[in-house]
């Protein structure tokens, strides 16, 4: 722990509330991590809650080599977007190559069959063709590229009949699952996911597919606990966001490029920037502000980074011939023509707005405390934002040391989202994770296909979005599968699943193990009644399928 962190920790006290020490430890692990593994609660009981919090707030000091080593074998994670685009071209690019006779039809994969891109583009699903199993090998290494004369040189051929197009998404999804289950930097994983939803992009949009890897790796994760303005700026400059919200298609109508292409501004990015990224829907802006902001951001396009057919080589991300040169007024502030600096000025203005502080405080408190965020804490967190110049780490500290965070009302008051449920189950049974098609498919059917949230709102963070009847059935089946050894990629520690003694005694022991508390009389009654109908080895599945375990 750094000196500054020590000082901060010493200056703050964890409020005492009606929760007992085990409950407090499991609460902390359920909120700032993806749930307790065997032994985690004891570790916190030994070292103290503040030490755990401070350690998690400084992820750079946490040794996470085991996970980093594992992830290193997922080759696409390390690649630059341009390299990915060259290796995994859009079906259209392959179609042209085939049409022009530059490559042979047999060399490329089924899913990219010539001139029929609807599988990839239209259905937005990972293919389900025979042999598509990302479990064991094809996500581990990159295919040897095929030379394609006249094209950027190389692209990925099919790998033993497997379509390489979904490899980029599959590796990213696998990595998220591995981090959630196994990373020691749990809060960083939680916050990276939080910001991904806040600044959502949809990986099923074909043009965005090869951009999301770098987006999460270079834009979101490094800034996840830093200054909000840095994060906001990095997102605004990212090809992934520009493509997803069409800023790439936004041209000043009187500019040379706008005229040549017969295009004008596209307001999508400007609107979501205000509505979702900063001010919030009631944040006091008008349609006119959106239009003017869109003019400010004309020229912020990935073409200027060297992407796309019209790519101009690596640039600074700003394309002057597309930029509206007129004067603009946003939120009452005048923007004199000043190239890319107009956008920076607007981002400053938005980041400094009190409505932004409130929106971010509300969302963070909703994530860490309650679906219905306590007003007093929201205010306090917003104040921290303003006072610290948008320091995310300090906002989190305000939350983690608040009495609302530790209140009995907050305890187990949140529904686990699918990723939280899946990761916390795997952690609870003492297993690592070997990501595979079934597991990722479970997340998809539970309603949270990773990186595949279509609308810019990101995935919901309130209970009612996640408890549909199809979803509950899947949750229960998942608990059964994880315990009964029928879930590929999960190997439960058998010792963790069993307990000695009579049925009531075993139920108590398992409740302590998985819920980290003594079951209430009412809960014990339900468990005993349920236990009558399942074989002994499935008892643990009841604890993991119970309403108590759907909550965090």
């Amino acid at each position: 722990m750094t000196l500054a962190a020590f000082a901060a920790a010493a200056a703050r006290k964890i409020p005492r509330t009606a929760l007992n020490p085990e409950q407090r430890a499991s609460h902390l692990l359920n909120r700032i991590a993806y749930g307790p593994r065997p032994g985690d609660v004891d570790a916190i009981l030994a070292q103290g809650e503040a030490a755990y919090i401070e350690r998690q707030l400084a992820p750079e000091a946490i040794d996470d080599e085991a996970v980093e080593t594992r992830l290193a074998s997922l080759a696409t994670l390390q690649l630059d977007s341009r390299e990915l685009a060259a290796l995994f071209p859009q079906p259209g690019v392959i179609q042209r190559l085939v049409r022009d006779g530059k490559i042979d039809r047999g060399q490329f994969p089924r899913g990219a069959r010539p001139l029929n891109d609807s599988e990839e583009e239209g259905q937005m699903r990972r293919p389900r063709g025979p042999g598509f199993d990302i479990l064991h090998y094809e996500i581990r290494r990159l295919p040897e590229p095929i030379e394609a004369p006249g094209q950027r040189g190389r692209f990925a051929p099919k790998i033993e009949g497997v379509n390489p197009l979904p490899v980029v998404a599959a590796q990213l999804q696998a990595a998220k699952l591995i981090r959630a289950v196994e990373s020691e930097r749990q809060l960083l994983a939680v916050m990276t996911d939080f910001w991904f939803n806040h600044f959502n992009v949809f990986m099923g949009k074909p043009q965005a597919r090869n951009l999301v890897t770098a987006y999460e790796r270079d834009v979101l994760r490094p800034n996840a606990l830093g200054r909000f303005r840095d994060l906001l700026g990095a997102v605004a400059h990212s090809p992934a966001m520009q493509v997803y919200l069409d800023n790439a298609q936004s041209f000043g109508s009187d500019t040379p490029l706008g005229k040549r292409q017969g295009r004008g501004i596209n307001e999508n990015y400007a609107r979501e920037l205000m509505e979702l990224h900063t001010l919030g829907v009631d944040g006091g802006y008008t349609q006119q502000d959106v239009t003017e902001a869109a003019r400010v951001f004309t020229g912020w396009t990935p073409i200027a980074f060297g992407f796309g057919r019209r790519g101009r080589g690596a640039g600074d991300g700003f394309l002057p011939p597309a930029h509206d040169q007129g004067e603009k007024t946003v939120l009452g502030v005048t923007f004199e023509p000043d190239g890319p600096r107009e956008g920076e000025k607007l981002l400053d203005l938005l980041a400094e707005n009190p409505a932004t502080a409130r929106l971010l405080a509300t969302k963070l408190v909703r994530r860490f405390v309650a679906d219905d965020p306590p007003e007093a804490l929201v205010e306090q967190v917003a104040k921290t934002y303003t006072k610290t110049g948008g320091n995310i780490r300090e906002m989190l500290r305000t939350i983690f040391y608040s009495k609302q965070f530790w209140s009995p009302e907050a305890y187990r008051s949140k529904a686990k989202k699918p990723l939280e449920l899946v990761a916390s189950t795997i952690r609870a049974v003492g297993s690592g994770v070997e990501p595979n098609r079934q597991l990722l498919g479970t997340l998809e059917r539970l309603g949270e296909p990773l990186y595949m949230c279509q609308p810019p709102t990101g995935y919901d963070d309130v209970a009612e979005a996640w408890l549909g009847s199809d979803q509950l059935v899947l949750r229960w089946n998942f608990a059964l599968g994880a315990v009964m050894g029928r879930a590929p990629g999960i190997e439960a520690d058998q010792d963790a699943l069993q307990a000695e003694g009579g049925r009531a005694e075993r139920i108590d022991k398992l409740a302590k193990r998985f819920w980290h508390e003594k079951p209430s009389e009412e809960a014990r009654k339900r468990l005993l009644a349920a236990a009558k109908d399942v074989p002994d080895q499935a008892l643990a599945a009841l604890l993991l399928g119970a309403p108590e375990f759907q909550r965090r």
């Binding site: 029929n116 583009e121 949009k205 979501e272 199809d470 059935v473 229960w476 399942v534 009841l542 309403p547």
Partner: protein
């Protein structure tokens, strides 16, 4: 979750007594006998079907000029000729199974229909058609879910809306329950062993709680057990399509069969969504369309036959994100275009007619000089289905910010 919750709070006594009292689905089924509900089936053709060859304007010389290789021949001119509908338009020959429905007037067509948004991206156009708000990417829910909210039922079945797909489709996602049930046989707990269901039901037999999360879970679990029981009831009888109906192999046929099974089991289904893919025919379109339309035609015919008299309560509506270029391309295919055609099949359909103004195919008449122009907004067709078939008072809440009032009249008023 909001709509079913009220029902369960009211009748939690019944729910707790679920094993001894008559299962509530039986009560519901009895109630349905007297008041059969109307059903809307939405079938999305993903990838943009070529509407100009699905329903060909063979009467236009220009059509044959624009598509020297791909145009369907005028009716009677050879094997692959269009099947005449009204002296102007002709069905693709692979859709022959639909001809009897055209003749008995249960099949109507709306032509030159689509989204006013100019995008030619599958992704954006599907998103807009499913959210029902073209041009606005910020809309979370789908048009069919907003319908469920706009026309609440006092005691909705947990299977009031079903997405016959791996996960709930965008069109049906939102705050009202709309489970994804891809296959009836797979929707089960613990592999369908009754004692596992019994165990989980005991596990979720919580006392009433004031904590929102607890009552939320309790209500959700009640709905879930009810859904499981309903599906179990459906599954109990091996399904045999009636009237000699034979569904084609492949996704469309299988999914329509699931829907027919749910309809006939009287589980309270009102909205079903299914989709099919592969319509993005940039090359060798004739072979692909032949297969795809063949499957769709057989599937719809089988569905109609299977449902028999029950079809009077059902409306099937087909849709696709945009049409394709009026001209064929150099690879015997077509590229991304604009307006398209939709089918409406079922009871209440004023069929045997092609609806919508025909915009023509001359260069000046084509949209941007290349695609079929739009004369009917898809929201007008959807609105007509919701209002006239399902009895929604007005579709304003389903299609926010849109009001044209145009009703083509393909459904009985």
């Amino acid at each position: 979750m909001t709509t079913t919750r009220r029902f369960w709070l009211k009748s939690s006594g019944l729910a707790l007594a679920g094993f001894t009292a008559a299962p509530s689905f039986l009560c519901r089924a009895a109630a349905l006998e007297s008041k059969r509900n109307r059903i809307l089936v939405a079938l999305f053709q993903r990838g943009a079907v070529d509407g100009l060859n699905m329903v060909a304007p063979y009467f236009e010389d220009r059509y044959h000029e624009l598509r020297p290789n791909l145009a369907l021949a005028r009716p009677g001119k050879g094997d692959a000729a269009a099947l005449d509908l009204d002296g102007r338009f002709g069905l693709h020959p692979a859709l022959e199974p639909l001809l009897p429905h055209w003749q008995d007037k249960s099949l109507a067509i709306v032509h030159a229909v689509g989204s006013p948004d100019a995008t030619r991206s599958h992704f954006d156009a599907q998103d807009y058609m499913e959210s029902g708000v073209p041009g606005d990417k910020g809309v979370r829910d789908g048009w069919l879910n907003r319908y469920l909210v706009a026309q609440p039922q006092p005691e909705p079945s947990p299977l009031r809306a079903v997405s016959v797909s791996p996960a709930t489709a965008r069109s049906l996602s939102g705050s009202a329950p709309a489970p994804a049930i891809e296959r009836v046989r797979d929707f089960s707990l613990g592999g369908g062993r009754p004692q596992v269901s019994k165990a989980f039901e005991a596990l979720y037999g919580m006392e009433e709680s004031k904590r929102p999360i607890e009552s939320e879970l309790q209500e959700a679990s009640h709905t879930t057990f009810e859904a499981l029981r309903l599906v179990e009831q459906v599954r109990a009888k091996p399904y045999r399509p009636a009237n000699g109906a034979s569904y084609p192999r492949g996704r469309t046929g299988q999914r329509l069969e699931q829907i027919a099974q749910l309809i006939k089991a009287d589980v309270g289904l009102e909205i079903a969504f299914a989709d099919s893919g592969g319509w993005d025919t940039h090359t060798n379109q004739d072979i692909q369309l032949n297969n795809l339309l063949g499957e769709m035609g057989q599937a719809l015919h089988a569905f109609s036959l299977d449902l028999g008299s029950r079809m009077a309560d059902v409306l099937v509506l087909t849709m696709s994100e945009f049409g394709r270029t009026a001209r064929e391309n150099g690879a015997r295919g077509t590229d991304h275009g604009h307006a398209n055609a939709m089918f409406a099949l079922g009871g209440g359909v004023q069929g045997g007619k092609v609806y919508g103004d025909w915009p023509g195919l001359s260069d000046e008449e084509l949209y941007q000089g290349r695609d079929l122009a739009l004369t009917t907004d898809f929201r007008d067709v959807f609105s007509e289905a919701l209002e006239r078939h399902l009895g929604l008072g007005g579709s304003g809440a389903v299609f926010p910010g849109y009001k044209s009032g145009v009703r083509r009249g393909f459904l009985e008023a």
